[in-house]
């Protein structure tokens, strides 16, 4: 009898384990849903940031998957240059709107407030000052492509933008330099690249034509301590890692200043060219792309002349 009772007790415990698992699922569900911030919380947090927002502030989301919600509330405050930052320059402060305890920075914030599950934090950041942003000034450039008959100028044109869509690469904007209508990918203009980490990068699309160079020249560019260049290839192509490398040569006043050879898999990368010797002077700056095989070389670069931000 005692043995039977003991068995009954053990068996009952097994039953309770399954019931407990069901109870866990039943109870966890409302707990999970209750932890989701309401729209009102997002609105209050956004209003708080909007009141204090300054030009050159950057707004980020934590975790990254709430980014569309954060942009939906505050995206109008941020220029595309900062929303799709090519490098760390030109940012004054970082605002973070986060939920679920997620964070993008480990450092203690200068400001923190909570709005029913949405946490707002702010950090002042020291970043270089941008003197000249080549992406913003692309329309002022001269673009040409080498051909058998010599260099051929590419005209700034207003045409039809790309339709958009998955695996179509960065958006071809309506206004751009058009180099060869027979090769519709051979244009130069501002766009946003999804880099190998799927991060947005505001940049100048300059798909190489092959061994013949595509050149973009900016004249009277004010120089600072550095000329910062970053480049990358579209995610959908770069992730396969089997196409030819792209060479980007940077010329300052007809002298080669640097050469970046970008391979698939390098991600968003580049170089900082020391221009401190020319600081305060103007120069012409030329960007030249070539490749051994132009197939699917969806290359895009960003560049700016920069100087250290003055310290307070």
């Amino acid at each position: 009898m005692a043995e039977a009772a003991r068995k009954l007790s053990l068996a009952s415990w097994a039953w309770v384990l399954f019931a407990a698992l069901a109870a866990f699922e039943l109870l966890a569900d409302p707990v999970i849903r209750a932890a989701i911030p309401r729209e009102e919380a997002w609105r209050q947090a956004s209003a708080f940031v909007r009141e204090r927002f300054e030009p050159n502030d950057r707004i980020v989301a934590a975790p990254a998957w709430v980014d569309p919600i954060v942009r939906g509330e505050l995206g109008d405050l941020t220029e595309l240059r900062i929303a799709a930052l090519p490098d760390r320059a030109g940012v004054g402060r970082v605002w973070e709107l986060g939920i679920r305890g997620a964070t993008t920075f480990d450092a203690a914030p200068a400001l923190e407030r909570n709005f029913a599950g949405v946490r707002v934090r702010m950090w002042p950041v020291e970043s270089p000052k941008i003197i000249y942003d080549f992406v913003t000034r692309i329309r002022e450039a001269e673009v040409e492509i080498d051909t058998d008959a010599g260099p051929l100028a590419c005209a700034w044109t207003r045409g039809r933008a790309a339709p958009g869509g998955l695996e179509r690469g960065p958006m071809m904007p309506a206004e751009r330099f058009v180099c060869d209508r027979a090769r519709p990918w051979l244009w130069v203009g501002p766009t946003i690249l999804a880099d190998l980490e799927l991060q947005p990068r505001r940049c100048i699309w300059q798909h190489p034509a092959g061994p013949d160079a595509v050149r973009t020249t900016f004249i009277d560019v004010p120089l600072g301590e550095r000329l910062v260049v970053r480049g990358g290839i579209d995610y959908q192509v770069a992730r396969r890692r089997y196409h030819a490398p792209v060479t980007l040569r940077v010329w300052i006043d007809d002298e080669i200043a640097a050469e970046l050879v970008h391979h698939d898999g390098d991600g968003w990368s580049g170089l900082d060219i020391d221009t401190s010797a020319h600081r305060g002077s103007d120069a012409s700056v030329r960007f030249e792309t070539t490749t051994s095989d132009p197939y699917a070389r969806l290359f895009c670069f960003a560049a700016s002349t920069q100087t250290e931000a003055p310290r307070d």
């Binding site: 019931a19 997620a102 960065p170």
Partner: protein, 548 residues
């Protein structure tokens, strides 16, 4: 080898009732779901086939002309005919009799019907080998898997093939002791072949199972061994049915069969996000089907299935553990285990093309549910709940309690079935934290129609991202969106552009930023706080005077 209970009329009433209730629930909830990408392709194919069927009835000589067959059947040649024929017949019924309140339902109804029949079949097979309560539990546990509920609505092949593979397995199991089932087995396998290529693995499962059965019988020195005539039925009737029902194969047969097989063996890889990584070429991690099952099926149902397998481990023992004179069985649980594991392992293999979605191994879940039914009965029996409390209701209450999480989650998952994750994954936001796939097929656009109608009272255009023009046209035909809100071919021409959030769709987000000069969406459709679709507004719309 008697290890089954004869099904009674009452059993079939119960099974049919379960199926009917499910189909009614699917019919009731279907309007909330816009058509998915794949559905729109099958609808197009079904309309072509319906035209051909009409011609076949009125002018058979013309219909059988090779050019006419090719014209009707070339589109979507990579999928066999059976369900597309069902969609086509249903569409003809809609055209001539107006049976359904919406056009989309005409195409979806045959798939829903297979979902209802599958519940009946799960119950029937379960009731043949265990108590009715376990069989009912299995059937309802399957019905209340959120992903199963979503796919059961669709004019696709995934739930139908789950039904036909289960039916084939059932017919094989019956045919082992009853010769009358041998032709039924061939026919069922033929329908499975003619539904989807998941059926290709069935002979392998059955041969392994049969080999074990034969080894049992040899070991136990059983004089009358089970004959292998079932295999002949499968190999003759099955392929014959496959070809006869698919007119595309009536000409240039071998080349077209070769192309069909090659298409699926060398299938393109879909990009699929799993634990933060977007996989776009093999190998997909081996764990994908198992972790996805853990995250999308109720934990208590899974635990009961594991318990069911554990308690039936004697049925799974090696043949050499038998002694001469030992009784042998049909090894039902071994067959179930094979049918459960094969679809999961097929996707888990490093050489398999990347598909990703749970729909590709839905065929495993009827057997998971059957094991859960086994587990439920074993646990309740060993706990001795009824006599212990002096009542029958504790056992029933326990069963209902174990079904509740799945039922509640299924209700909550609608109409975001593919975005839904169980509490085990932390729910929808927890899965987003873990970097799990958010959705595919663009069907969530159906949850935006009210907002779009509100924004475009005088009509306009929408760039649809992952939603096909065919799916949008079906929303219009169903009256869910007016015809003056049209699908735009280009973001820059549209009033609004949609971006369906999947990790690798980030580039489309950025395209919209460039096209409209802003990173601010006008609206974000969320599910449990997780973004599903961003809608961007074209600033040119204001210049055109389209905004109110």
């Amino acid at each position: 080898m008697i290890d089954t209970r004869k099904l009674t009329r009452r059993d079939h009433v119960i099974g049919a009732t379960l199926g009917l209730i499910y189909v009614a629930a699917l019919l009731h909830t279907a309007p909330d779901l816009a058509m998915s990408r794949d559905e729109s392709f099958y609808v197009h194919a079904a309309k072509n086939i319906a035209g051909w069927l009409s011609e076949l009835l009125t002018d058979p000589a013309s219909a059988l002309d090779p050019d006419h067959i090719a014209r009707a059947w070339r589109y979507n040649w990579e999928h066999p005919a059976w369900m597309k024929l069902m969609f086509a017949w249903s569409w003809l019924a809609q055209e001539h009799l107006g049976l359904f309140p919406r056009d989309s339902l005409a195409f979806r109804f045959p798939g829903m019907l297979t979902a209802g029949l599958l519940l009946w079949l799960i119950y029937a097979w379960g009731a043949s080998v265990m108590g009715r309560s376990g069989a009912i539990f299995a059937s309802v546990a399957f019905a209340t898997m959120p992903r199963v509920f979503y796919h059961s609505h669709l004019a696709c092949f995934d739930v139908p093939i789950a039904f036909f593979t289960t039916l084939t397995a059932y017919a094989y199991w019956r045919a082992l002791v009853d010769r009358r089932w041998i032709p039924v087995l061939g026919l069922a396998f033929g329908i499975a072949l003619a539904t989807k290529h998941n059926s290709w693995m069935l002979p392998g499962i059955f041969i392994i199972h049969f080999a074990v059965l034969h080894a049992d019988q040899a070991r136990a020195v059983v004089e009358e061994r089970t004959p292998m005539t079932w295999l002949a039925s499968m190999l003759v009737v099955g392929p014959l049915f496959f070809i006869v029902t698919w007119p595309w194969l009536w000409h240039d047969t071998w080349n077209r069969i070769g192309a069909y097989v090659t298409f699926h063996l060398k299938h393109v890889h879909y990009t699929y996000q799993f634990l933060g990584v977007s996989y776009f070429e093999p190998p997909l991690p081996f764990s994908v089907p198992f972790v996805m099952t853990l995250f999308t099926v109720s934990a208590v149902v899974l635990a009961l299935a594991v318990a069911g397998i554990f308690f039936e481990r004697l049925e799974l023992r090696f043949p050499w553990r038998l002694n001469p004179g030992d009784p042998t069985t049909r090894r039902t649980d071994l067959l179930w285990l094979g049918c459960l594991l094969a679809p999961l392992l097929a996707i888990a293999l490093p050489s398999s093309p990347i598909f990703g979605g749970t729909k590709h191994w839905l065929g495993a879940y009827p057997f998971l549910a059957l094991f859960a039914g086994r587990g439920l009965l074993a646990v309740a029996e060993r706990a001795n709940l009824g006599p212990w409390l002096g009542r029958q209701w504790p056992s029933r209450a326990f069963a209902i309690f174990c079904l509740l999480p799945g039922a509640i989650q299924t209700a909550h998952s609608h109409p975001f079935g593919l975005s839904h994750y169980m509490p085990m994954a932390g729910g929808v936001p927890g899965a987003a934290d873990l970097g799990m796939n958010r959705q595919f097929w663009g069907f969530t656009t159906g949850s935006l129609t009210e907002w779009l109608i509100e924004q475009l009272p005088d009509g306009g255009s929408v760039w649809l991202c992952d939603t096909t023009a065919g799916a949008w046209a079906m929303l219009q035909a169903d009256g869910a969106v007016p015809h003056n809100i049209r699908a735009a071919r280009s973001m820059s021409e549209a009033d609004f552009a949609l971006v369906h959030h999947e990790q690798h769709f980030a580039e489309v987000d950025y395209q919209a930023w460039v096209a409209y000069g802003t990173s601010r969406p006008a609206h974000v459709l969320s599910y449990d706080g997780v973004p599903i679709i961003s809608v961007y507004e074209n600033p040119a719309r204001h210049e055109r005077g389209g905004a109110h």
